[in-house]
Symmetry: C2
Subunit: 781 residues, 2 copies
């Protein structure tokens, strides 16, 4: 009995010590200063790439699960050679080449894994030799994103190197290292890697943060230089600027590039954490992808942002890879739900994920329960450096989704000059981001891209047209360089002749400052807000052709089935020259119908059935020029030139989401200072009766009355203090949103009597919301 107890005790101690040592192993990474940057140093053990030896027993168990077996089978399937038909189906030659090589790399991964987990030396040998042969013949060329294919070869090579380390001959190690350096040298960043695009661009993808980092960790004992280069770049430049962005809980490269960009931020996090460093990024990283949750449309697509090709509509927009990496790392149930959205999950396909299946096997949290976003607040604000808000009326099929953007610090690259823009989705895309990245003339720096798609003119924002303005764009990058882009009347191209921001300190400088969020807030119930408010100053987004541009958005959830929501947009635009014409834009897929001071945009095709109706309350009726622009040959019209871009069979755009029309509202009379006040209601396109919309003119305020709501703004957009009154007419109880208030203590009288004895206006939103009946409301601060 005593013996048995002792054995049990020893066993428990053994188990405990094993668990302890797993923790200890994680911690044995030391940190050193290299050239003034403190970086982690790889531990002197293998494996250390993607996992540590302490992780192996759990991995072995894990491989027995049905989920892992499925993934293993998928990798195995990739391990076969490709048919000529499959080869031909891939239009990108680098990827065609890479796919051809995927057979051998997939096999090598499985072989290395077999040795890692089961100690199968024969498999190790196979992996070592086949991968070395492959590396020696690897040659994707040196242009731009071909680096992605080169990098994947480094990654698999590194895996073999690290996992089969003790089975490699010294000469093989040296041969691997030689090939790693050679291949790295063919990549866009070169070798030693240039640290010249740490914020956006191809080096901010796989090549630095996954591939060269992986190879560097594998070969560190024999050749520390590669790791040292990469890790120094990361800790000096990549991580600080990303932590700055993460604090805003969003990303700057658009909905298409989030996969290749943000995924690799997560790769850096995973790789170094698994090496033993613990988290290297601010944990705000967890919430970056929440943006996708909020921009998810009922049809499975997302409201687009940045350089993006319109969706195929039959497939859901899947963010499988970043959602897997983020949800598993942060144990985030809502992101697990985003991961599970991938309709291809069963067959484990999806272009991006192919070369990442091994990470699904290694890192994905199989036990994490997905959670639908149903209990998330319906409005979400992304603060500095973004100033973006998405407001929804629900998560179901008939949700209204509105995006509102200010833009504060601007990166460029795949980011658009869209400060002040909005999008509206209800039973189809109604107010859209126009243009497309794919198509007959899409692509980076193409005429369509640089003259229209990226520019303010393609967004629901404001133009101020100085006929003499020049848009120098020589440094924008890509293949189709020109000295100038067309004059769209829009926002400036920051940096020297439109250069993507590559230095964190410059990002914070006036050059890359495009605006400032002045106020934001939603309520009264933050989970189901009746109002969602965003105001920004976007003066700095323009050149000196403007003196002041401020835009306020108030999105109203009207809680009404017929007319579920309205978006109020109030603008102050002061140009430096009264003759510079101002344009208020709203882009659409179908042709808008103008009727007096209102216009209507309807969706009638592709199963979409929504519509919006906009009432132009300012400029005054006699000063408001409302014009439609678009249709065949003028879809992407830039003051005299159409920058055409048609859908291609390989990139279909069934619902023509790139758009073909816009409405331009302009003041007819020249003036330096102009105001726009627009009220956009959404409804089903069968709706016969929308709400009356009334402008409320006060001495110091201008406002809107619609349904049971009253919303006011400061007439000149400056914060209101002192005293002012508004007069509300109408029946029953109305809901008031009074914006542009100076923070502090306020008192409200109604019809001369104390109505709200004292309340405090916050600096974040600068507003008061309350309910009341008709009367004269006097506000005193």
């Amino acid at each position: 009995m005593k013996n048995r107890l002792t054995i049990l005790t020893l066993f428990l101690i053994f188990i405990a010590s094993f668990r302890l040592s797993a923790q200890e192993l994680r911690k044995e990474v030391t940190w050193q200063e290299i050239d003034g940057v403190t970086v982690p140093i790889p531990p002197q053990v293998h494996p250390r790439l993607y996992l540590r030896s302490a992780d192996v027993p759990a991995l072995k168990e894990r491989l027995k699960t049905p989920q892992a077996q499925k993934t293993l089978a998928a990798i195995k399937a990739l391990g076969r050679d490709r048919t000529p038909e499959e080869e031909a189906a891939e239009p990108d030659h680098a990827y065609r080449y890479y796919h051809r090589m995927r057979g051998v790399t997939s096999r090598a991964e499985l072989q290395a894994l077999d040795y890692l987990v089961n100690g199968n030396k024969r498999q190790a040998r196979r992996a070592i030799t086949s991968m070395l042969d492959t590396l020696k013949t690897t040659n994707f060329g040196t242009k731009g994103d071909l680096s992605r294919a080169s990098g994947a070869m480094l990654m698999v090579g590194a895996m073999v190197y690290d996992w089969c380390y003790d089975q490699m001959k010294e000469s093989e190690k040296q041969a691997y290292i030689k090939e790693f350096i050679r291949i790295a040298g063919t990549m866009e960043c070169g070798y030693p890697p240039r640290d010249n695009q740490p914020i956006a661009g191809h080096p901010s993808e796989w090549m630095i943060m996954r591939d060269m980092l992986s190879a560097g960790i594998a070969i560190y004992d024999e050749y520390p230089d590669m790791y040292n280069h990469v890790v120094k770049m990361m800790f000096k430049d990549y991580i600080p600027v990303r932590n700055y962005f993460y604090a805003g809980h969003n990303y700057h490269q658009g909905t298409s590039y989030v996969t290749v960009r943000f995924s690799n931020d997560l790769f850096g996090q995973w790789i170094l954490d698994r090496m033993g460093t613990g988290p290297i990024y601010d944990s705000a990283q967890q919430f970056v992808l929440y943006d996708l949750i909020y921009r998810r449309r009922p049809d499975g697509q997302v409201l687009p942002a940045g350089d993006v090709t319109p969706p195929k509509r039959d497939a859901r927009a899947a963010y499988t890879l970043p959602a897997m990496l983020a949800s598993s790392y942060f144990k985030d149930e809502y992101l697990a739900y985003e991961f599970e959205r991938n309709p291809d999950l069963q067959q484990q396909g999806g272009e991006v994920l192919d070369h990442c299946l091994i990470f699904d096997l290694l890192w994905r949290d199989y036990d994490l329960k997905a959670k639908a976003p149903d209990d998330l607040p319906l409005t979400r604000f992304s603060g500095t450096p973004f100033g973006w808000m998405i407001a929804r009326t629900g998560w179901g099929a008939n949700s209204v989704i509105v995006e509102m953007k200010i833009n504060e610090q601007f990166v460029g690259n795949h980011q658009h000059m869209d400060g002040g823009s909005f999008q509206i989705y209800y039973k189809g895309p109604l107010a859209i981001d126009a243009g497309a990245y794919g198509g007959s003339s899409g692509g980076y720096n193409s005429p369509h891209n640089k003259n229209f798609f990226k520019r303010t003119i393609a967004h629901n924002s404001l133009l101020v047209y100085d006929p003499d303005e020049k848009f120098a764009c020589w440094n924008y990058g890509g293949g189709d360089k020109t000295e100038y882009a067309d004059n769209d009347g829009g926002q400036r191209m920051p940096g020297d002749r439109w250069q993507t921001c590559n230095v964190f300190s410059e990002l914070l400088s006036p050059e890359y400052t495009m605006g400032k969020t002045l106020a934001h807030g939603f309520g009264p119930d933050i989970n189901v807000p009746e109002y969602s408010y965003l105001k920004g100053d976007i003066t700095q987004a323009y050149t000196q052709k403007v003196k002041e541009v401020k835009r306020s958005f108030v999105f109203l959830n009207l809680k009404n089935e017929q007319v579920p929501a309205a978006l109020i947009v109030f603008d102050k635009v002061v140009s430096s020259n009264p003759d510079f014409k101002k344009y208020w834009l709203l882009h659409s897929i179908e042709e808008p119908a103008v009727n007096g001071n209102t216009f209507t945009v309807t969706r009638t095709k592709n199963g979409d059935t929504g519509m919006l109706q906009n009432s132009v309350l300012l400029p005054e009726a006699d000063d408001a020029h409302i014009e439609t622009v678009g249709g065949p040959g003028k879809e992407f019209w830039v003051f005299g030139t159409n920058y055409a871009n048609d859908a291609l069979p390989s990139r279909p755009d069934p619902a023509n989401e790139r758009g073909a029309w816009r409405v331009e509202v302009s003041p007819a009379k020249p003036a330096a200072e102009n105001y726009f006040l627009n009220v956009i209601q959404v409804a089903d396109n069968t709706c016969k009766q929308l709400n009356d919309v009334k402008r409320l003119d006060g001495e110091r305020t201008v406002g809107v009355q619609i349904a049971d709501r009253i919303v006011t703004f400061s007439k000149n957009s400056k914060p209101l203090a002192g005293r002012f009154s508004i007069k509300a007419e109408g029946n029953g109880t109305m809901k008031f949103v009074i914006t542009d208030l100076k923070p502090g203590n306020w008192q409200i009288k109604k019809d001369g009597k104390i109505f709200i004895p004292g309340t405090e206006v916050k600096s974040d939103d600068g507003l008061l919301s309350f309910e009341g009946t008709a009367g004269v409301y006097e506000f005193r601060r």
Copy 2:
């Protein structure tokens, strides 16, 4: 019939035109630039002082009302000569002299009024000659606040001059002007007036803003200089700095000086508005006196601030004059209630009001209905430049009242170096501002005033004692100048050797910046808050002897009869030298009792029955040195010297509210960085059982558990982002206040499950409040 209609029409037109002309008259004031300052120019008509001719008909009607008759009778009563006994009863010789003259001035006022309203020329003549005789003999001397008496002569002389203008001979006008200039020259500011104290000091009282302004308006046609001097000073210096203060809805000269200082701000407002300018100040002026509403104790006194003599307790602290001027000007019902608090209102006595009765007659809104503060929010925050908060549990007899102060921009003069201090009142003053302005050794710049009363050591704040620190104070003003004041270990004396701030731009400079409010908020219901939170950085209030001083207050309304409230005070104090001893202070009237790491302050006399008990949670028990200081001969102890100040018969202090004791909490071991965490509960002194108080130590937080509340702070006082957890034990639902959070989107998990999917922390308060049961709460930003 037709005729009758015509007559009626004509009559209506006449009435309408009359009303119109009253408005027009108000508006005919023109504005001109004098030396770069735009100022209003008096209209070329009389009367224009205190009213215009359009106001006369209404005044005539008004004089018939019982209220006006009472006031008229009071002025008439003052018009008799004083008895020798009355003369002897006035200790201040200037005021004795003035009171002697009050007979003739009161008579002159009534005579001038009789001419103004009834055209009684004989009365005008009497007023003109008697007032001229009086002016010629007026000689109050030239010292300091004797200007107040001189100024009152200007005021009455101006009234006679303006109201009886067309009855005056040219020679009389010249004689008046000569005397006005002569008397003005005897005033502290001299003539032409020196514009050297536009923020605080005697010129910021009657002499500029009421008296010289009044005389200047009266004689403007014949002698514009006096008006031009004054109005330029006002519009250049006085008004801008006051508007800056008013935005914070408070005043900087303490509860005693609000009457002579703020009343005169209101006089300037009334006088110029009545002349026809409309409001000259920001309407935030209305809310300055709300501070008094909030600091009102159930016994009718107010929580003291600044240079103030403890109350007589049998009389209510009356702010009759400013409350009349402000409530009538702004039509403010709550301030009308403050006006009606004056117990002397029936007999129209009160020293201050004597010479202002005429304004009650002219300006007071007899129709304004007073409103008790019962429906005002129980907590009030005064923002920049103050950073002050008062939180109450109610408006009734058993209310707890807590004052919390940060101090941002510091004026000086009657303001105290009390950044970070607090006061607590419950059934008597418990934690008090110690010292007194009146008394055997009070008064401006007296030893008691400069070494103790004004200094941090006399307040419930923090000392950091550098034995070598010197407090140079030569420029503080007043009669008892010394080169240095004693070293109290407290906050610095701003300005060159402690000079009151006299320049607006300097007020905003680092020299006069004593701190910064970092966060404030109260809720969840702002009308009856459960928590009231204020945090500030008061590092700048000290010299370089400290590196960092931050204080957080959380006042909890426990909604419990036995223990109605608690105040949590959390401090971070970093000294530049670990040997500088730190002191956490709490002043009291009666002797505190120390018991382990708690101490108790009880009120047992003068009808007071409250007590407080403080639990010292930091410093740790083994490092907390808790000492009582005070008692006979040590009441106002400053490291070795007692700066005594006993109550005088003329200024009794029946409850000894100047205090006699304090508790000093100090870390025993020398350290640069120290934290204080104190939890002060209040109860009736018969209460046997207070709440248990528990410190909650988290990895990144420190907190307090008391009753059903959990309050946490960032351990190092820096904003929390990323992730952290707190563990809450206990039964039932608890109310959490989690402070020191970085603004933005947060998510809370409880025991590993989503608890709050998403919520937004505001920048104003940086906190989350919610309810929940025991468990581990994880916060993620």
